[in-house]
Structure formats: C-alpha cells, structure tokens
C-alpha cells in the first residue's frame, strides 16, 4: 500500500541550522497493516508522517501510495488518499463550525467541491449513524460548534472525520497524547474499532510502549531518522515493554518510560 524508498529530509538547508532528519529511509506497509511507530523525541517520526502527507517536500527519495507516485503531489491533493489525526485536538476540527458542517467537509475529502449545498439533507442520517459509534451522545448535538467540545470529544470527532471517507492510509501522530489517561484509552479503543470496521491501513505514532505493543500487527522503532527495529506477527504480540526498553537503550536514552 505504502512504499517509501530512500527518503531524505534536510531542514534549513544551507544554513548553520542545517539538520538531516531522515537519511535514506525505506519502509513498506502492506494493505491492512496497522503499524505502531515509536522512537525518542526528535527521531523523525512526525517528519516522516508530514512527508507522507505532503506538509514538507523531501530532498530525496520517493513515496508511492497504492502504486501511485505522490512524492511531489501537493498536500491538499494527496489528502484525497489520507486520513490524518494530529496530536493537538484543536487542529483536527474547525472550532467555529458546527459538528455537522465539520463532518460534511470531511465527507467531501477527495471529492470535487462545487456550488451544491455544503450539507445535504441525506447526509444528516449518515452522520448520526456514524456519531453513534463514538458513544458520546454527539448524534444529538449535530448543530453544536466543534469548539465547545472537550479535547477528547474533539479528538474522537477528528478520528471519525479522518475515516468517514475511507482513506488508503490513516496517519495518527500521537493523537491521544494531549488527553487524560481515561480518555486516551477510550480514543485508542475507538481507533481500533474504526480501523477494524473499515479495514484501514494505519500508521500510528505513540510514546506509550504498552499501546505500541497492544495495538496493531506490526511495530517499528525509529532512531535518528532511521528504522532500527521492525517486528510483526507473533513476535510482536509476545513483546514486553522491557524488551523494547532494552532495544531502546541500545540506540538511545532519550525516550521516556510511558
């Protein structure tokens, strides 16, 4: 589904602050994979996701999604194939717009927008059905502004928005890091539910090693812009946090225990 070859990213090129964040990264993710990605601060995880999403352009290498070369495609165009949820709950929804308007915009991801109504009547039912899955009672609050929701509610809504049009790849960058522990668990369960229901190929960054082991079928560890550890299947299932910590110490002592 996703094939990354020799991806290189250098920030502030040609200045004293020049920083090579990724140097020749290779990664292949198969359709239906749910990959968790861990690594210390500054390892390049967010940079990798931002390169996939087109927020930054790489200095070298290529990114293929479902066979199509998207390396140079502008961010808004490749958004057609990607669902994204950010760390900051404020970033995923438009605060001054109603829940139903937010969902309607999400429902048009990858579609041509014209002068038809921004929210169609028949969409309302679909949105209500989808919101029920969140189990937050939002299906009765369609006309409430998204800005009035709590961080957890907004993140759950953002998750729904990222998946309401099935993406080829779902990118989650520490999307529960800003939530309290209980809410974080709820949003993670929801993530798993939506991923399974829609059979989504997913790449999820987390700093929580337990979550990295518990969720998904494959685990990747990054350090200094390189993939340093990659496990899947039974081996991943049987991983212990202590195993990961050992690996970590081998590469870096920068990651905090979750």
């Amino acid at each position: 589904m996703l094939r990354i070859r020799n991806l290189t990213k250098v920030f502030n090129i040609g200045t004293i602050n020049e920083q090579r964040v990724l140097s020749g990264l290779n990664l292949h993710i198969s359709e239906g994979d749910f990959v968790t990605l861990i690594g210390g601060n500054g390892a390049g995880k967010s940079t990798l996701l931002n390169l996939i999403a087109g927020v930054y352009m790489p200095e070298g290498g290529e990114i293929l999604l479902a066979g199509e070369d998207i390396t140079k495609m502008p961010e808004y165009k490749r958004a057609a194939f990607l669902g994204r949820v950010f760390q900051d709950p404020m970033m995923g929804t438009a605060a001054d717009m109603e829940i139903i308007e937010n969902l309607a915009i999400a429902n048009r991801r990858g579609k041509r927008r014209g002068l038809g109504w921004g929210v169609r009547k028949e969409e309302k039912l679909k949105f209500q059905e989808s919101l029920k899955i969140l189990d937050l009672g939002l299906e009765h609050r369609l006309n409430v502004k998204a800005g009035l929701l709590s961080g957890g509610q907004r993140q759950a809504l953002a998750l729904l928005m990222a998946t309401i049009q099935k993406p080829k790849l779902l990118l989650l960058d520490e999307h529960t890091a800003a939530l309290d522990p209980k809410t974080a668990v709820r949003v993670l369960e929801l993530t798993e539910e939506l991923v399974e229901k829609n059979k989504l190929t997913t790449l999820m960054v987390t700093h929580n090693m337990k979550d990295a082991i518990k969720y998904g079928n494959r685990l990747i560890m990054m350090d200094k812009g390189k993939i340093v550890y990659d496990v899947s299947g039974e081996e991943k299932k049987n991983l212990k946090v202590t195993d990961l910590l050992e690996k970590f110490e081998g590469f870096s002592d920068r990651m905090l225990l979750a």
């Binding site: 308007e101 915009i105 048009r108 991801r109 014209g114 109504w117 929210v119």
Partner: protein, 305 residues
C-alpha cells in the same frame, strides 16, 4: 432640528452604501481571518473606474459591473502575493493598496478627482422612477437597500455551498481544511476576490451617489469597515446565524455613519474624524483584553465535566 434629521437621513443612506464595503471586510476579517488592507485601494478603485466610465459615456449600471470586476482583480493580486509568493497577509494588502493608489490616479487620467456634475448616474436614473417626494438621501437609501439585500442573499447562499463552507473552514482552521483536501490557497484567493469586488462596488456606488470620485476616498476604509463589524458584534453578539450576522454588519455601518454625523454636529472638526475613528476601533478591539483582565469569568457548571 430639521438639520439634524436631514444629516441623519443622509448618514443612514451613506451607511447602507458603505455597508456593502463592510460586508466585504466581514468576509476577509471574520470569515477568512485575514486583515486585508487592499480595501483602502479597491474602494477608491471602484469609485475611479465607475466615474471615468460614466464620463466616457458608459451606462452607469454597467460601470458598476466593471468596477466590481476591477475589485475582483485587486483581490486576486493580493491573494497571489500572499499565497503563492508567501508575503505576509498584512504586507500583501499594503503592497496592493499602495500600487492601487498609482493605478487609480492613472485611471482617473492623472487627476485627483472626477466630478460627475450633470452626468447620469444610477441615482439620477432612479430618481425618475421613484415617487416624486423622494429626496436625494431617500433615493440613495432605496438603491443601497436593494443592493445590500441582494448581496446578503447571494452571500448567504454562497457560504452555505460546498466551496463556501470550505472558505469558512480555511479561515477557521487552515490545517484541517487542507487535511480534508481543500485547496486553501485557492480558497483564500476566492475570499479576497469576493471581498474586494464588493468593496469596489461599494466605492462605485458611493462615488455615484456623492457625485464625484476622489483618489483619497478609500483612505481608512479598512478601519471604518472594522468599526462597523465591531459595532454590529457589540449590538447583536456573535451567537447568531450568518444572515443575521451580515445584517448586523450593515447595521453597524449605518450606526457608525450616524455616530459620525452626530459628533460632527456636536462640533468635532472633520479633520479629526479619522483620529476619532481610530480611537473608537482601538477601544472596541481591546474590549476582550480589558474584560479578561478585570472581569472574572463566571464558571459554567454545565460545561465542566
């Protein structure tokens, strides 16, 4: 007393004509979240284009259409400067504004103003159709009201469409809009274009109603627009639907004109008018900050989890 009524009458009429401009400012400032200074130039641009075309013998209504289109163009230039050439928002507007000053002078044949004395304008034309008892202010008001209502209707429809919703999302959360496949650069250009088109149209109408275009007629447009938007917000609040918000913006423009007419009557020198407006807007803009400092917010028990 009669003099006061007369000046209020004409203030209301002016307020409605300028209200079209404030709708334009509302689009950039409130919907796109973009303080666009182009409007100072595009307001005068509209006046200049309309006046010169009338002098050249064009139909006054057609001159409005061309003035509107010239404003669209000015908006596109600012939009491209900002989105494609990555010039900061404020600076893009300033650059367009400055450039427009020269362009407007050129359009006006190098003269600082063009009088429309004895020329046919949409107001003189309307005077022939409207009841005989209508004075100048009433004619201006009638025409202004027709334009404002039509424009509010169109804007209400437009911002409810898919593209309109995307423009609103872009102003609200650009990141989200782009992640949802929105071409946010294009949406900003669209918003700026629409806004400046309306501002130019407003300038053209004002020029026709006052009987002249002046190269300096746009100075302070952005500040007056903001004043009107803020007055509207203070009176109507922000928790109202889009149609009412637009109504509040136009009402704000009318009230602003009435205030100006009143302070002038009280004895404020007209040369101090811009200073007065600046102070009023500065105070209005700082209300949230002052409130936050001195007024303890009430805790909303319902919202706390």
């Amino acid at each position: 007393m009669e003099g006061l009524l007369l000046s209020i009458n004409s203030a209301v009429a002016q307020g409605v004509l300028w209200g079209i401009m404030t709708l334009g400012v509302y689009i950039t400032y409130k919907i796109l979240n973009y303080a666009d200074l182009t409007v100072d130039g595009s307001f005068a641009l509209g006046g200049a284009v309309s006046a010169i075309l009338i002098i050249l013998g064009w139909d006054p209504f057609l001159s409005l259409v061309i003035a509107f289109c010239s404003g669209l163009l000015a908006g596109v230039v600012t939009g491209v400067l900002h989105t494609k050439l990555k010039i900061p928002a404020i600076l893009s507007g300033i650059l367009s504004m400055i450039a427009l000053y020269s362009i407007n002078l050129t359009i006006m044949g190098g003269k600082a103003n063009i009088a429309l004395l004895g020329m046919e304008t949409i107001f003189t034309k309307a005077q022939l159709i409207l009841p005989a008892g209508f004075d100048k202010a009433m004619v201006s008001l009638s025409i202004g009201a027709v334009f404002v209502l039509a424009i509010m209707g169109i804007l209400y429809w437009f911002f409810g469409t898919e593209i309109g919703a995307l423009i609103r999302a872009t102003g609200n959360n650009e990141n989200m809009a782009r992640a949802m496949g929105g071409n946010t650069d294009m949406m900003k250009i669209l918003g700026l274009l629409l806004s400046n088109g309306l501002v130019a149209l407003s300038g053209a109408l004002v020029a026709q109603s006052q009987g002249y275009a002046d190269v300096g007629m746009g100075t302070g447009t952005i500040v007056m627009g903001l004043a009107a938007v803020i007055i509207g917000e203070v009176l109507f609040g922000t928790r109202i639907n889009y149609f009412l918000r637009m109504t509040s913006v136009v009402t704000g423009s009318v009230i602003y004109r009435i205030i100006i007419a009143l302070v002038l009557r009280i004895g404020l020198k007209s040369s101090n008018l811009k200073l007065f407006t600046a102070i009023v807007v500065a105070m209005a803009l700082s209300i949230p900050e002052i409130k936050a400092k001195f007024v303890k917010p009430k805790i909303n028990l319902e919202k706390a989890e």
